[in-house]
């Protein structure tokens, strides 16, 4: 039986991963920006994505832990007031 609880981390080390950027991204749970850009249909070439990926990775690393601290009752700091100012 191969249940999720039995799944193992890939049997590779960082030395192996260093030869394969995709493997590094997988190991570090980083996003594949090229696939995201393709799926988003924003018209970015691979070269475009390569140029911005380091910035996006850095933002991910900084932002993900912050977002994880949010409790469900925290509202966004944008306010919608139904009715106010309407005719």
């Amino acid at each position: 039986m191969a249940g999720a609880e039995e799944r193992q981390e890939p049997a590779v080390g960082l030395a192996d991963a260093a030869r394969c950027p995709a493997m590094i991204r997988c190991l570090l749970k980083m996003k594949n920006w090229k696939e995201i850009a393709l799926a988003s249909d924003v018209g970015l070439s691979d070269a475009d994505v390569d140029r911005i990926a380091p910035g996006l990775d850095a933002l991910e690393q900084a932002f993900r832990p912050l977002a994880a601290t949010l409790s469900f009752e925290v509202e966004p700091a944008v306010v919608f007031r139904a009715g106010e100012g309407e005719e």
Binding site: W33, I36, A37, S40, V42, G43, L44, D48, V49, R51, I52, G55, L56, L59, A62, F63, L66, A67, T69, L70, V74, E75, P76, A77, V78, G85
Partner: protein, 464 residues
């Protein structure tokens, strides 16, 4: 000269508005090859407005301190019949058919618009090294950037071409050029000044405010700009007040917070020395310096980046089929924003709620808090990284470290000159106030200015 000095001279008939405006136009033309501060000069309309201002004063019609004073505005404020480029090729031929609220109010106050100033492309950067209109240069050293994104406004005021130029500030774009060019820069509370007719960068982060030669001048401009505007959904209904500090304004008893963490870390030593010396002066004038600890400002800056990425890319999305017409630095930022998930944007706005609450606890201890406006003085044009206190960072991230988080909080902040660094470039103190307490930081800033006279420092320019 400051606005108030010009205003006194006008009323004493020592000078006319026509003469002040012509002098500003001459100065703008003479310094344009050196500074590239202006994108559009409006000489004919300015001369006509000046004549009208003089005629009104002669008839006894006095619109207040800005009456007949030459001013400039950043080229993202819509001006009816005058092109409004936002520093971008995309808007190079955009001629609005209406005036921004800021233009309406300045015009009603009798100010004379002599031109529109250069800026970072789309207001999305801090160097004002513009790929389409050329680099704006710093009046203190033309090899250095003037800051940005309101770089032309900083250069025009720093060089003494005009006593006031309008800027906008999404992550420091008023305060950084004010700091680098040795001027005063005021970012009012979010919602204090209408954004109507200002081309947007970050809807929830954009603030409009003046760059001036003195704190009292900034206050006089805020008197004109502040107030409700139903055309801007974010504009506060809170009534405005008289923001101009009285003569002899005092900081006695004012509790000024001095952060023990973050804001004095990784700062150029000569910048820190100037700022701390300025704070000692405040103490000698009777202010109470209160050590405070602030929440994680690196985290606040991260929240700012998520918000700005998403909002700027949303604002520009309809133009992204022309992305090749956008310079590489701004294009890269807009491209990054297009890949930020909606969930991250919403969570950044939720984190904003948390940080406003947590950071707001400082107001239990202090009336305002002080920081360096920027960790270093102006970097050189083309410089990509800056080092301060052993910490090296991209020039944009370094310049915005102490200012951009304040836009997330929406609080008022004043950048004012506090001396020169070891290379002879201006250094600036940032005073951050409680929401809608512009009067408090302006009063403290005016008291320090009166005591030190640092706002009188001027760059050496050709034909001075």
């Amino acid at each position: 000269m400051t606005i108030f000095e010009m205003a006194r001279s006008l009323r004493a008939r020592k000078v006319s508005s026509a003469e002040l405006v012509q002098a500003a136009l001459d100065c703008a033309e003479r310094l344009q090859p050196r500074l590239n501060a202006f994108l559009t000069v409006m000489a004919d309309s300015a001369r006509a407005q000046a004549r009208e201002a003089d005629a009104e004063l002669a008839r006894g019609v006095d619109r207040g301190p800005l009456h007949g004073i030459p001013i400039a505005v950043k080229d993202l404020f819509c001006t009816r019949g005058v092109r409004t480029t936002n520093g971008s090729r995309i808007f190079a031929d955009f001629v609005p058919d209406y005036d921004a609220a800021v233009i309406e109010r300045l015009s009603a106050a009798g100010a004379v618009l002599i031109g529109k100033t250069g800026q970072h492309e789309l207001a999305y950067g801090i160097t004002s090294t513009n790929p389409h209109f050329g680099a704006v240069r710093n009046p203190w050293n033309p090899e250095c950037v003037p800051g940005g994104s309101s770089g032309g406004s900083g250069a025009a005021v720093g060089a003494g071409i005009v006593p006031m130029a309008m800027g906008s500030d999404t992550g420091g774009s008023i305060r950084i050029p004010a700091a680098y060019c040795g001027t005063v820069g005021l970012k009012p509370t979010y919602g204090r000044v209408s954004k109507y007719g200002a081309l947007p960068l970050g809807f929830s982060l954009d603030h409009m405010g003046p760059l001036t030669r003195s704190v009292r001048d900034s206050a006089a401009v805020l008197n004109v700009l502040a107030g409700p505007d139903s055309r801007d959904a974010c504009c506060s209904a809170k009534p405005s007040e008289d923001y101009v500090p009285p003569e002899g304004a005092s900081v006695r008893g004012t509790r000024i917070g001095v952060p023990e963490n973050f804001y004095f870390e990784h700062v150029d030593p000569s910048v820190e020395e100037a700022v701390r010396r300025h704070l000692r002066t405040a103490e000698q004038l009777g202010a109470v310096l209160v050590p405070i600890r602030v929440p994680d400002v690196d985290a606040l800056n991260t929240i700012s980046r998520v918000l700005l990425f998403a909002e700027a890319s949303a604002a520009m999305q309809k133009y992204m089929d022309r992305r090749d017409e956008i310079g590489p630095d701004v294009r890269a930022l807009l491209d990054q924003g297009r890949l930020v998930p909606a969930t991250d944007y919403v969570n950044a706005q939720r984190l904003r709620t948390v940080f406003r609450r947590d950071f707001g606890r400082v107001w239990q201890k202090v009336d305002c808090f002080a920081t360096p406006a920027t960790p270093t003085s102006a970097p050189r044009i083309g410089q990509t990284t800056t080092t301060a206190g052993g910490f090296t960072a991209d020039v944009r991230l370094m310049a915005t470290r102490f200012v951009r988080g304040i836009n997330v909080l929406g609080w008022p902040a004043l950048a004012a000159p506090c001396g020169l660094d070891s290379s002879g470039m201006p250094v600036s103190l940032q005073l951050v106030g409680r929401p809608f307490d512009e009067a408090g930081i302006l009063r403290a800033g005016a008291a320090l200015e009166d005591a030190t006279g640092f706002h009188r420092l001027q760059p050496a320019l050709p034909d001075d």
